[in-house]
Symmetry: C2
Subunit: 335 residues, 2 copies
């Protein structure tokens, strides 16, 4: 590996001059500039970034925390973030927290140890009290999940409550009378309390049910996360005395599991059971029946969150404190 010294030697100039050429300083003799560039080419020189970082400060790297990258929802968000980051020559470091609070803190230390310029949370398990101290080491942005107490931290998300309200209202309007609710719940998550996101979603459901004066049985509440959870939930639901005729879920995976199991048991969807998903993943239209679901604008969320982060890193004025993107209900065949 050649260093700046080697280049300087070969070009017959001092290291400072080489440095100036690299950083496009003005006031460098054209001839020497050419000589330096030539020497760099010949040696296949490239600057040691650790040294650059030690001297300067920025790493041009952003950490992105997700619970599991296999989840297409997170995949899409990360993809969008990466797009914006790449445009600005920033890199992403992928932090798969697996819903583990300690892992999350561990990754947060990347900020403390100056290995990244900022941290974006797409998943979130720790509370603000725990995270707060780290915020002094660099910017933090919430994308998707959020914490109410975290003042001053940009939040890019959808209006969870409104989305669930819309979905519930849709079912009520359609004439469904026993509407069950399935909370989004990541079993990997180590804490038992509901996230702000899950709380808000439930509030939307509750508000609609109350406005319509619908009874809403405690036994109609489920929780889950995966296709498997969906299958399990159908079984639970099928064992109930008063069976629901519709269910709103927290993810397309859960919905897919419920539909698969329901069909397997001879139920017709949406006649015997209406199912609403959440996310609008690419597979939603591949299911039979096609899934009615809430569209999450993953592209915009990811892009916007990264834009906010880059603005924060460059200490530009913040674009917005909280951004609620629209999440329209897409009515298809499952309701």
């Amino acid at each position: 590996m050649s260093t700046i010294k080697d280049v300087a030697l070969r070009a017959g100039v001092s290291r400072s001059t080489v440095s100036r050429v690299m950083n496009n300083h003005p006031y460098v003799d054209e001839e020497k500039r050419r000589a330096v560039k030539e020497a760099m080419m010949e040696l296949g020189y490239s600057p040691n970034s650790s040294a650059q970082r030690l001297r300067g400060t920025e790493t041009r790297t952003i950490a992105v925390l997700v619970s599991r990258i296999v989840n297409p929802f997170f995949g899409a968000i990360v993809d969008a973030m990466d797009e914006v980051a790449a445009e600005h020559s920033y890199r992403l470091i992928l932090c798969n927290t697996r819903g583990n609070a300690n892992q999350e803190l561990h990754f947060l230390q990347l900020l403390q140890t100056k290995q990244v310029d900022g941290v974006i949370f797409a998943s979130l398990v720790n509370d603000w009290e725990t995270i707060r101290p780290f915020s002094e080491y660099g910017p933090i942005v919430f994308c998707n999940e959020y914490l109410r107490e975290a003042e001053g931290v940009p939040v890019i998300t959808i209006n969870q409550k409104q989305a669930m309200y819309d979905a519930t209202m849709h079912l009520i309007t359609k004439g469904y009378e026993r509407i069950a609710y399935c909370n989004i719940y990541d079993p990997l998550k180590q804490q038992s309390t509901l996230s702000a996101l899950a709380e808000d979603r439930f509030l939307g459901y509750k508000k609609a049910m109350e406005e319509a004066k619908m009874s809403c049985d405690e036994s109609w509440r489920f929780a889950g996360h995966s296709v498997e959870d969906g299958k399990r939930i159908f079984k639970e639901l099928n064992n109930l005395a008063g069976k629901p005729d519709a269910i709103i879920t927290g993810s397309d995976e859960i919905a897919a599991g419920i539909i698969a199991e329901a069909k397997g048991n001879g139920w017709r969807v949406p006649d015997d059971l209406a199912v609403v998903g959440f996310d609008n993943q690419p597979t939603a239209v591949l299911l039979d029946p096609k899934l009615t679901t809430i569209h999450q604008p993953t592209l915009e969320m990811g892009r916007e969150a990264m834009a906010q982060m880059l603005a924060a890193v460059k200490k530009e004025p913040k674009l917005a404190q909280v951004l609620y993107l629209a999440a329209p209900l897409l009515i298809r065949q499952s309701t």
Copy 2:
């Protein structure tokens, strides 16, 4: 931000001693060790990793190249890699190449500039001639995609040819007579030549067809990548004079697109058209009919690739040069 100097000052020792404590050196007075740890706590000290890297060499970071992380196949592989990496306190830097050859080279420079200890290719567009020079800066591992000429580079993949041979034989045995083939082809990819992986797959199809003395019309060859491509391919196929009665595809997405469009046009699957996927993504069993597909052991591939990488980084003896994992055909309802 406090440095090692601050800690030393506060603990009343030299910087070397602080360093020794951090690195768990033996031969440090217990009392001083305690004093140092206390000082570190009080100052909230954490070492500057750029400085550590500058001094030592390892970054404990591995770059993983994928064409697009939204693809659940890559998501699963990366997830598995991350799992192993995390166990050994290594981190992943996610490189979304978008099938762009220049992007790929750009990320390869991370190796050259010592920002990562190694690079794993899950996607691959450049040729060996281009990549080879970088291999002197650190270990490279191929996972999934590969290059035949790249001697000495570990390859973790499945036996592509065998997999396609099995799938084709299955259709032949079932009595299908006009078996079309859809190559995996990433439209993002900038080069027009087929990858070694795609080549090998096609060879498997061809071998089975020849052994069974089946005619195999040139017009029955398609290429694609996404659900949209699948839909397009069905339309093309539907316009053909002699229509195929079966098709083998390079991904579950393509297969899903073909099935969706076929059903929309009143075709019955598998009666009018049998469809075979590739990957066995979670959605394969959610489709109706359930998809016959080739299972890719993403978990093992990712884990094994990372294990190879870590072994290479630590200069341990290589486990194996090339590893072909089994990729069984899962026969379900679409054939």
